[in-house]
Amino acid sequence: MNSPLWSLVVTRFRESLRYPETIFWTFLFPALLAGALGIAFRGEAGVPSVAVVAAGPGAERVVAALASDNAVRVESLPRPEAEHRLRTGRATILVVPGSPLVYRYDPTRPESRLARERIDRAIQRAAGRNDPMETRDDPVTEPGGRYIDFLVPGLLGMNLMGGGLWGIGWVVVEMRIRKLLKLQLTTPMPRRDFLLSHVLVRLAFIPLEIVPLLLIARLLFGVATAGSLFALTFIAVVGAISFAGLGTLVASRATTTTTISGLINLCTFPMIVLSGVFFSTSRFPDAVQPAIRALPLTALNDALRAVMVDGASVVSQGPELLVLVLWGAASFVVALRIFRWS
């Protein structure tokens, strides 16, 4: 007869694959997200700036000057409508002809600043400016430096986090609500095996969580892994175990699905924003950087990114791995102490 541990792992794994939702959230969703974001942010250089010119005297000359630049899309509109376009973000800049010529734009929007530079250059040249120094652009698109290259490791990290928290947190609480934990406790099943089985199921899910995403990123965008596959796998395993700990911790007391989904969202949302999934953590002030770096998802994302983009080795990611191990160990220790079986 099978051991309790093996049966728990096999049964749990089999059961979760019978839910189409699992398949969607684990494999399809991250891949779709990578595809969509990779296309949307394929680089500002390739996207033309959208400008509106307020109709009036001199507008035609401005439009003609800008139309010659194929990095700019331009349209002349009556002033109120042009202002409306700018306000609603459908135009990045509004040019008001006259003397002086006025640029209206939001300087906090990078694409507006870019549009201002492009448009000013085109208008100045049309007005007869001669650049004293001859220059030439030599554009490079190096895999590794693009947004999608930044994004894919972040999505991997986010996926491993979601797997740990939902895959253990939610599932264990559901078993508690169904009074299955209680019933299993009346059998000679070792409690240790029960908790361990959830961690092992998480490990079994790792290939399913990372391979489809890596394949899509590779096929659509040519995202390659600079470092070794071993390093990537090793870090993913440590990350998955660490988040399995956190998942067990959030599951240890909750007795309703509302509580557990609240707890999981409370853990995941801040980290999705702070830990460098969609944009770099360097956007946050220096004062909070130590706190951000102490988050498990930051450590996991940084380590995955170092391996995928910079080709880093496992050893070089010691500090990040240490953060993950500490989170995992602390979570498991607390979870085991406060775990509610019935």
Partner: protein
């Protein structure tokens, strides 16, 4: 239906509980309960919801620690070697919902794996009558089939003591009969069963002995026959009147009558000897110019025992 044959030399009880108390704050869910379940019998805890049956069961199977009292299960106390004691128990609890997308065979197989020794899951599934459903997800089972699955999970470790909390709640009468047969065949193999129920017909049909539980105490224990005999009026005469009335005192004064109570407009007369009490009743009705709508004689039930002990009905909820 039966009284247990007394063994020569009294064996150790399968379950022995003395002075059991479980308090939650100021509320005592179990309040000084004493019990003794003998090996090889089917023992029932009968009582209304909230009487403390489930708390008692959870203490017996080691899920809850008692506030006070002594509990021995199969000669052991909890906290000595719990794993080995658990391997000798088969338990089904109330309201367990199995994982929806596992099949019957997978669930029973999983529970089998928890036990170092046990039975072939297929034979257990056959025994509870689920062979045709072995490959079906538990979400597609009827209520009765789910209860039988729970029973299979309790049986698959081949336990010496089967503990079932409200195993037939929510089943239709036919399913309850079939369920009862399975439990009885298990007892007939010499195993011990402890179950709770609030169906007195079920306690009567399945249980060799019954403890009537009320407000956390066992207020009466015995075989069905013993409990009925304790009533001092083993026959109940139910009288419904179409016209007129019979005063309780006048009825109680009739020869052979032990007690009178009213229920849903009918007069329930507990009598030691029906052939004495009934003619007296008819004479009284004639004297008082009351007209009988009907008169029924029946054997007293555990419900009558419960009512006579507590003044309340089992079904009062």
């Amino acid at each position: 239906m039966g009284a247990v044959s007394e063994n020569p030399g009294i064996p150790d009880p399968a379950v022995s509980v003395r002075g059991l108390v479980k308090r939650y704050g100021d509320v005592a869910a179990v309040d000084g309960l004493d019990l003794e379940v003998r090996p090889g019998e089917c023992f029932g805890l009968l009582g209304p919801n909230g009487a403390g049956k489930t708390t008692t069961i959870e203490i017996l199977v080691g899920l809850l620690a008692p506030t006070a009292g002594e509990v021995r299960v199969l000669g052991r106390e909890w906290g000595e070697d719990d794993r080995s004691l658990r391997s000798r128990l088969g338990v089904s609890l109330q309201e367990t919902r199995f994982p929806e997308r596992l099949t019957v065979a997978e669930v029973v197989g999983l529970f089998r794996s928890f036990h170092p020794r046990g039975r072939d899951p297929r034979s257990v599934i056959a025994e509870v009558g689920l062979t045709e459903k072995a490959g079906t997800w538990t979400s597609r089972l009827s209520g009765g089939q789910r209860q039988r699955l729970a029973l299979a999970c309790a049986l698959v470790g081949d336990p010496e003591l089967l503990v079932l909390d409200e195993p037939t709640t929510g089943l239709d009468p036919q399913a309850r009969l079939a369920f009862g047969d399975t439990i009885l065949s298990y007892r007939d193999r010499g195993r011990t069963i402890l179950l709770t129920t609030h169906y007195m017909e079920e306690a009567q049909r399945l249980c060799d002995r019954v403890a009537i539980i009320d407000r956390g105490k066992a207020i009466a224990v015995g075989t069905h026959a013993e409990l009925i005999a304790s009533l001092d009026g083993a026959t109940v005469v139910e009288v419904a009147l179409a016209r007129g009335d019979l005063p309780d005192e006048a009825v109680r004064a009739l020869p052979g009558v032990r007690a009178v109570r009213r229920e849903n407009g009918a007069i329930l007369v507990s009598a030691t000897e029906a052939h004495v009490a009934v003619p007296g009743l008819l004479d009284l009705a004639r004297e008082r110019a009351a007209e009988l709508a009907h008169l029924t004689l029946r054997q007293a039930t555990l419900e009558d025992v419960y009512v006579s002990l507590t003044g309340r009905h089992l079904r009062d909820e």
